[in-house]
């Protein structure tokens, strides 16, 4: 057995190794399980690890391969964010409410990735019910950033991002309602894509804000993200918003042979708002250096305007809590989840169950959502926010008349220290300013590692494209990654062998 260095191995490399019989899927799974066990006390990236399930799935993949089956994900270990339902395995959303909830069925994307032959290692930690940008609201304790353990990994998919960055899994799933794939990908120096709304079925993904939620892959490279997205995407009649489109191969543009100017003809739109006063200098410096690289690869730049993007945060903090207050009403202590031990009557049971089961951030958002939907306030808040959402989406459409992709930082800062923002919700909300727009408009967007701040923390650049431009975004990122090595850097101390 010759295992590659798992702190930096990609899905594509591991897949080639499995095909060449350099190691078995079982050997690979065992090696990742050992890495998870070694890192868990410091990083806390996983809520649940499933060694028995992983071994069984790995053996099945090895048997399938021996029988002549093949596939890019056959025998590849993966982790699922803990809001995707996994039959027979705890699905907690990092909440006390679901701390002991064993899902009775698989989410669509879980089924899809299992059918592709992947091996589920376990479930990764997140901000409770995906509400947060730091994974500090997890009921199961904070997750730490592998690059600097006193920094946050970002959120809400912070466990997935930390696990990939530390080489505890070659790839993981995430969900993105306001930036929850892209922001932790940026903070942890990995690659993640939120596809166009409706590309990945939401069936079995615990709902936060249904008109914004979208699943996507998080991995070490754009090439790996393409492999996962190809397996995850596709129409599913069980989600009424799943788009009836033909299956796509998101790797299709990546195989073109490298050339000196692979991005010839690509017009990169640069909105002022992404380079303003609120962006930290090391972030701006890394993005500007990435732009030089992209232009060297043949791309050109053009100024574009997103005049209403500044309103995306208040718009989001009306719409997302409104949808959350409705979605989370299902947690009533009757059909699943936590139920208070003592209560006087049914109403008291609901109120105590929800007071005990939800954390502070989730309660705050439910209260905001309940208020904006309540009698007399609906027009002033909810309807108003839906109108501004239209203005923001229209801005993107106008910008894409002039460019193929919009580029800027994923986040205005690198990862803050643990506790630095958790006491000030507004400050944390405002950091989502660059990512929320793609959710409101339903556009695909990804974060790609493009440098480091002087304190050693990674910087991510965001690429946003028109509807259904995933293959093109992934190709642009892939060409950038062929010319740079930011995505290949690994945090120190993650070689647990």
């Amino acid at each position: 057995m010759i295992l590659p260095d798992l702190s930096r191995a990609t899905v594509a490399e591991l897949s080639a190794g499995l095909t060449a019989r350099q190691f078995s899927s079982l050997e690979l799974a065992e090696a990742y399980l050992a890495r998870i066990a070694a890192a868990q006390p410091t990083l806390n990236a996983f809520v649940t690890v499933d060694p028995d399930g992983a071994r069984a799935a790995a053996k099945a993949a090895d048997t399938a391969r021996a029988e002549g089956k093949s596939g890019a994900l056959l025998g590849i270990p993966l982790a699922q964010k803990d809001l995707f339902m996994t039959e027979g395995l705890r699905t907690t959303c990092s909440s006390k409410m679901l701390a002991n909830f064993v899902a009775p069925y698989d989410a669509h994307i879980v089924t899809a990735l299992k059918q592709a032959g992947s091996v589920l290692l376990g479930k990764t930690a997140m901000d409770e019910f995906a509400m947060g940008s730091s994974t500090e609201t997890s009921f199961f304790g904070v997750v730490r950033n592998p690059w600097q353990p006193d920094a946050v990994p970002g959120g809400s998919s912070g466990g997935s991002a930390a696990a990939v960055a530390a080489g505890l899994t070659p790839a993981a799933t995430g969900s993105d309602t306001g930036g929850s794939i892209r922001q932790p990908a940026s903070f942890c120096g990995i690659t993640g894509i939120k596809p166009t709304y409706g590309i990945c079925s939401r069936y079995g993904m615990v709902a936060f804000a249904s008109s914004l939620d979208q699943a996507g892959p998080m991995a070490r490279s754009a090439e790996d993200c393409a492999l996962l997205l190809t397996a995850m995407a596709g129409h599913d009649g069980r989600d009424a918003t799943s788009l009836p489109r033909p299956k796509e191969d998101y790797s299709r543009e990546l195989a073109t042979p490298p050339s000196a100017k692979p991005l010839e003809g690509v017009r990169i739109g640069l909105p002022d708002v992404f380079f303003g006063d609120g962006v930290d200098a090391p972030v701006v410096a890394a993005i500007e250096a990435a732009l030089v690289e992209l232009c060297a690869l043949g791309a050109t730049t053009v100024p574009v305007a997103l005049p209403n993007l500044g309103y995306s945060v208040p718009t989001y903090y009306v719409l997302a809590p409104a949808e959350a207050s409705s979605n989370l009403s299902r947690f009533d202590g009757v059909r699943y989840g936590h139920r208070a031990a003592q209560y006087n009557d049914l109403s008291d049971m609901y109120q105590k169950t929800r007071a005990e089961g939800f954390g502070d951030e989730v309660k705050r958002r439910i209260l905001v959502g309940t208020y904006v939907l309540s009698h007399g306030y609906y027009d002033a808040y909810y309807l108003k926010a839906q109108k501004v959402r239209r203005l923001i989406a229209d801005d993107f459409q106008a910008a894409f008349a002039q460019c193929d992709v919009i580029l800027g930082p994923t986040v205005p800062t690198v990862a803050p220290l643990l506790g630095a923002q958790s006491q000030d919700p507004i400050k944390m909300y405002l950091n989502d300013i660059f990512t929320i727009g793609a959710n409101l408009a339903g556009l695909p967007a990804m974060s790609v590692p493009c440098g480091f701040a002087p304190n050693g923390l990674p910087v991510g650049m965001q690429l946003q494209g028109p509807y259904f431009s995933e293959a093109r975004l992934l190709n642009i990122a892939h060409r950038f990654q062929q010319a740079t090595d930011w995505h290949k850097r690994t945090p120190k101390g993650m070689n647990h062998e």
Binding site: V102, A240, R339, D345, R354, F358, R364, L367, P425
Partner: protein, 95 residues
């Protein structure tokens, strides 16, 4: 806009979340700052703008009105806090 503590308790009741009175001052301060941020929306001219409820202009899809799922009631009820004879148990609601 400032929310009174009574209003917060009214919303909390609508949301069926019990809030201890001791928590109210801090919660009030946090909600005030959130609504202060949200109030920026009121300055935007949205006359004639069609509200956008969803990212894709989808019509509600219809499917054939036929049984598509097997009966997995017992399996699903394993996650329930209290069941009996296939029913979910709740505190008595009618005296």
């Amino acid at each position: 806009m400032a929310l009174s503590q009574n209003e917060i308790q009214r919303i909390a009741y609508l949301a069926r979340i019990k809030i201890d009175d001791a928590m109210l001052p801090r919660l009030q301060q946090q909600l005030d700052s959130i609504f202060e941020m949200i109030d920026a929306l009121s300055k935007i001219n949205t006359a004639g703008v069609t509200p956008m409820a969803h990212a894709q202009p989808l019509a509600l899809p219809l499917r054939k009105d036929s049984v598509a799922e097997p009966d997995r009631r017992d399996h699903y009820q394993q996650a329930a806090p209290a069941v009996s004879d296939g029913l979910y148990l709740v505190p008595k609601v009618i005296e």
